[in-house]
C-alpha cells in the first residue's frame, strides 16, 4: 500500500512540476539595441538612503538662485563634497528587502532610524548604514562590493555597483536641466530652503547662512494620497568627524 502511495505521490509530483513548464510563452521581440527612457524613477532604483541625500545636494547645487543664497549653498555643498567624513542620522519610512539588510522607502512601511557614514579616499567613496533595528543590521558598500553585517558579524557579501551609482548621481553633469526650472528657493532669517518636487515627492534641503552648512534634508509625499507623509528626514548632519577606516571593512 505504501509503495502504491509513493508511486501516486511521485506521479502527482511530476504533474505539479509539469504545471510550471511554460506552455504559452510570450514571443520575445526585445532587441536591447535602442536606448530607451527609463520608466522607473531612479530615486527608487538606487536602493539607498545615501542616494536621496545625493539627489537633494545635487539638485541644490545646480539651481539658478539669488547670489547670496547661491554663495551659502555652494559653500555648504562644497564643504560637504570636500569633507572626508560625513555622518548623517536619519529616520525613514521603509520596509526591509528580504534578508539583504537593505531598507527601501515604502509608504506602507514603518519608521526605522539609521546612521549613514560616508568616507572619501581619493576617487573612492565608502558608505555604511547602521540600522537601529532588532537585528542590528549594517550594510557597507566599500567601492567594489556590498557587505551585510548582523550584530557586527558579516553574513553576506557580493559585488555591487552602488558606489558607482552614487558617484554618477553626484556628478553634476548628470543632472537634467529641467530640475533647475522646477525647484524653489526661499530665505528666512538664517535659513535658506531649497525645494524640489518630483513624482509626488518633495525633496527639501535646509542650509544655514552662518556656518554655511547643509543642516537638514527631507523627503515628503505630496500626492493626493498620503500627502504630508514624511518618507525621510535627517536628524543630524555632521562633517569632518573622525570615522575609523575599519568601519568600512567586514
Amino acid at each position: 500500500m505504501d509503495t502504491q502511495d509513493n508511486i501516486k505521490s511521485e506521479r502527482d509530483y511530476v504533474k505539479v512540476v509539469e504545471l510550471f513548464n511554460p506552455k504559452h510563452p510570450r514571443k520575445n521581440e526585445l532587441t536591447f539595441s535602442k536606448p530607451k527612457k527609463r520608466k522607473m524613477g531612479k530615486i527608487w532604483s538606487l536602493g539607498g538612503i545615501a542616494a536621496m541625500f545625493a539627489i537633494i545636494i545635487t539638485v541644490a547645487i545646480k539651481l539658478v538662485m539669488p547670489v547670496s543664497a547661491a554663495e551659502v549653498i555652494n559653500k555648504a555643498l562644497s564643504n560637504l563634497s570636500n569633507a572626508e567624513n560625513v555622518k548623517v542620522e536619519f529616520m525613514m519610512r521603509a520596509v526591509k528587502t528580504g534578508e539583504d539588510g537593505i531598507y527601501r522607502p515604502d509608504l506602507n512601511g514603518n519608521i526605522v532610524n539609521g546612521t549613514l557614514f560616508i568616507q572619501k579616499k581619493g576617487d573612492k567613496i565608502f558608505n555604511r548604514i547602521d540600522w537601529d533595528d532588532s537585528e542590528r543590521n549594517t550594510i557597507i558598500f566599500d567601492g567594489t562590493k556590498y557587505i551585510h553585517l548582523k550584530n557586527g558579524t558579516a553574513v553576506a557579501s557580493h559585488p555591487s555597483a552602488f558606489s558607482d551609482e552614487l558617484i554618477n548621481i553626484l556628478n553634476l553633469e548628470h543632472q537634467p536641466d529641467n530640475i533647475i526650472k522646477e525647484s524653489d528657493i526661499s530665505t528666512d532669517g538664517n535659513t535658506i530652503t531649497v525645494r524640489h518636487s518630483k513624482r509626488n515627492i518633495l525633496f527639501t534641503g535646509e542650509f544655514r547662512k552662518d556656518n554655511k552648512q547643509l543642516a537638514k534634508a527631507s523627503v515628503v509625499v505630496t500626492g493626493k494620497e498620503n500627502a504630508g507623509m514624511v518618507m525621510l528626514e535627517t536628524k543630524l548632519i555632521d562633517i569632518n568627524i573622525d570615522i575609523p577606516e575599519t568601519m568600512f571593512m567586514d
Partner: protein, 168 residues
C-alpha cells in the same frame, strides 16, 4: 562603434534574452514592465562595462539584479494581489489547463504565491529561465543541495495543497 566590453555585454544579453524575458514575463505580466525592466537591466550593466568585466559570475550577477528590479517594480505598483487564500481555493481543473499566456500567468502566480520567496524563486529560475540547479545555486549564493531542497519542498507543498482540493 561598440567597444569590446560593450560588444561582449550585448552578445551575452542576446544569448540570454529569451530566458531573461520569460522570467520577467512570468513575474511581472505587463509587457511594458517586462521590456522596461530588461532594458533598464541592460543599460545598468552597460553603464559600467569595466565593473561588469571584473564580475566573476556574470549570469548570476545579471539574474540577481533582474530579481531585485522585478521585486521593486511589484512593490511600488498596485498590481493585482494573487496571494489571497480565496484565490487559491477557487482553483479548478480548468484553471490548471491554461489556454493562453494570461491564464498561465495567473495559474503560475497563484500557485507560487503559496510559497516563501526563496522557494518560489528557485522554481521560477528553473522553469522560466531554464537554469540548472548549479546555476541557480550560484545566483542565489546557496549550496547546491539547498537549491534542490527548496525546489523539492516548494513542489511538494503545492502538490499537497492541490491534492486537498482533489485537483491531482
Amino acid at each position: 562603434m561598440m567597444g569590446k566590453n560593450r560588444q561582449q555585454i550585448f552578445e551575452l544579453f542576446i544569448a540570454e534574452k529569451d530566458n531573461l524575458f520569460q522570467y520577467a514575463s512570468y513575474r511581472l505580466h505587463d509587457i511594458k514592465d517586462v521590456e522596461d525592466v530588461l532594458q533598464n537591466l541592460y543599460e545598468k550593466i552597460l553603464s559600467n562595462p569595466e565593473r561588469f568585466r571584473n564580475v566573476e559570475n556574470k549570469r548570476a550577477y545579471i539574474y540577481r539584479i533582474l530579481y531585485n528590479e522585478c521585486t521593486n517594480l511589484l512593490r511600488y505598483s498596485a498590481k493585482m494581489d494573487l496571494r489571497s487564500p480565496e484565490l487559491f481555493a477557487s482553483l479548478d481543473k480548468e484553471t490548471l489547463q491554461p489556454e493562453n499566456f494570461e491564464e498561465e500567468f495567473m495559474m503560475v502566480n497563484r500557485l507560487l504565491n503559496l510559497l516563501p520567496p526563496e522557494q518560489s524563486e528557485v522554481i521560477r529560475l528553473r522553469h522560466h529561465s531554464n537554469l540548472s540547479f548549479q546555476e541557480i545555486a550560484d545566483i542565489m549564493e546557496i549550496p547546491l543541495p539547498t537549491a534542490k531542497g527548496r525546489y523539492r519542498y516548494g513542489i511538494e507543498k503545492i502538490r499537497e495543497k492541490l491534492k486537498k482540493l482533489n485537483l491531482l
